[in-house]
Symmetry: C2
Subunit: 348 residues, 2 copies
């Protein structure tokens, strides 16, 4: 190894050295930022007619990501998209990001810079600026915490409540791909044989490691007042539609046949004897939007799809609360919408 | 143990159970919060004539705190104050907090609730509201990440730049107490003998575990346009005044004799053969404010002290950059202002 790379350890460059490097990597220029990184707090101008959106997410090595099998750039990208997607789901514009990390010394600074690069790449299309953060060592695992700040037209944010009986339920893109992609990656890391993924598998892996936040669609829904409620698909479609139902105090009927499944997902399911509909309903981290809109807006919703070149599919209808949360199977039979139970603590 | 306490484990109550408990513990009511916890992002109204302040800090078990020797309530309090103090140093009002955590299953939920309670208690006097967060398991250590949102009069925030040659340098309260308190706690945890601290030691420990953010003083400095630059004492006085000098492109002369030292700190230093001035200059986490103000405002600064009943001491003067950063020792000799080097990565 070259001299410069041996010197490139966290022990040598130190906390301030790392911060300096990361600052240089991602400089800020927005006229709305009075003061970015480098003081006790960032100072931001507020925008008339806008409300503020703030959301935060943690990503823990060994829980949310695995640096042994995942490229740091992909980890950064996915963490960034998880945050951006929260703002997209409210119909807002992401503006600023704060990034905090605790890093064990075993991780080379190069990997941290690459993780940052992935984060930055995910944020670049929407011009999100880095305005703060904190860096520390970690005695064991790597810890990442992101806080995103966005803005939305005053009193127009899309929330999980507001869904009304009779609303159509829509999802953007295709669902279940990320779940399938993750399964392929897990098989690969458990399998020492040389791994040469098919084109379909490559597509699904890409959908997992490089999801797209649906920011433009969220904004168009707000601008055109089309949606009653929205959420992004992070826990899994059945869980996420459940959150909307609980917050809106309504029931739901999902039509299994109407779920937008990619041909690649269908092929993967066939090959692995899996139910593609199950993958779509239970699989998380698609970062597609799910929203409800009155039936009369159906054509306008399709216009948003045409304009953004992203498929938007009607997958069911909001029902009264007494109806419960049901799934219509492709053969016509109805059953309770099953949810994967999420318990980060119970799983280990 | 009672049945209810055996049931009270993270494995049993799960992630959503924990979030529910914490939400109940700290409900929000501000009319500025359109939507608090429970959606993809919090929605906040913006305030005319105000700018936004945002800051984030991480606290890592084994680096910043030790749950074996520290009460969870104290850990929460200190983490809260570290954040509040960042807003105080800008002359702003802290408004909202986001709390993210990754918790290993070995930690009883009771301890997490107590940590939250300490955090809440620290935030209560300034009516800070909890608006979001994220919770995860951790494979090893506990991670805590706080993001504070505040507001400040537009174009009036106090930053680290802006100090001018000839400015007086002031600090609030007394300095070095927290450092001494930490040393006492460390001795205690290394010493199996029964520990019965003296009244002076109790004072110093309290100053370490229960620091006070100087929010009101920061706001008065802004309202009365008294200060040119400000910072809170977190790294240690000599390092923190160094940050102001670097950002403001100036030099400084600190008068050792003028440092405000508590009688308890002096007694502790005497008993332990330590230099109290060193403890004050190098010791971090006092969370007092350091600010610079033109000499003509001296009386007005003293009025702030009288009004808030917090001592404010002039400890030196801003000099041209070429002067460097110097310390005048009590006997009159001058020397370079030594700084403790901070490198979280190098220390382990």
């Amino acid at each position: 190894m070259s001299q410069s790379s041996t010197r490139d350890s966290l022990k040598t460059i130190g906390e301030f050295g790392l911060i300096r490097q990361l600052k240089q990597q991602w400089s800020t220029s927005s006229p709305w930022i009075v003061k970015g990184i480098g003081d006790d707090a960032a100072i931001l101008k507020t925008r008339q007619g806008q409300q503020l959106l703030i959301s935060t997410d943690v990503f823990i090595e060994g829980v949310h990501f695995d640096l042994a099998s995942q490229a740091p750039k992909d980890v950064g990208w996915r963490a960034g998209v998880a945050n951006l997607s929260d703002v997209a789901a409210m119909g807002g514009s992401p503006l600023y990001l704060l990034v905090s990390m605790a890093v064990p010394v075993r991780i080379p600074p190069k990997n941290i810079r690459e993780l940052y690069r992935g984060l930055k790449d995910a944020c670049a299309p929407c011009h999100v600026e880095l305005i703060g953060g904190d860096t520390s060592s970690s005695p064991s695992h790597m810890f990442l915490s992101l806080t995103i700040v966005g803005s939305v037209r005053a009193n127009r944010a899309l929330t999980r409540h507001g869904a009304e009986v009779g609303d159509h339920i829509y999802v953007t893109g295709t669902v279940g791909d990320s779940n399938a992609g993750l399964r392929i990656l897990q098989t690969r890391s458990n399998n020492l044989r040389r791994f040469s993924p098919s084109t379909a598998e490559k597509f699904l892996i890409r959908r997992h490691v490089r999801p797209t936040p649906r920011i433009r669609i969220g904004r168009l829904l707000v601008d055109r007042k089309l949606a009653h409620a929205a959420i992004d698909l992070s826990d899994g479609l059945s869980s996420d539609v459940g959150h909307v139902c609980e917050e809106s105090q309504v029931g739901v009927e999902i039509r299994g046949k109407a779920l937008p499944l990619s041909s690649q997902l269908r092929a993967f399911a066939r090959q692995n004897n899996l139910d593609p509909m199950e993958l779509a309903l239970q699989g998380g981290e698609d970062y597609e939007l799910l929203f409800t809109a009155p039936a009369k807006h159906h054509q306008k919703v399709l216009n948003v799809s045409r304009q953004t070149k992203v498929p938007i599919s009607c997958i069911g209808e909001i029902k009264p609360k007494t109806f419960g949360q049901q799934l219509e199977l492709p053969e016509g039979r109805k059953q309770k919408l099953a949810k994967k139970s999420f318990n980060h603590f119970g799983n280990r």
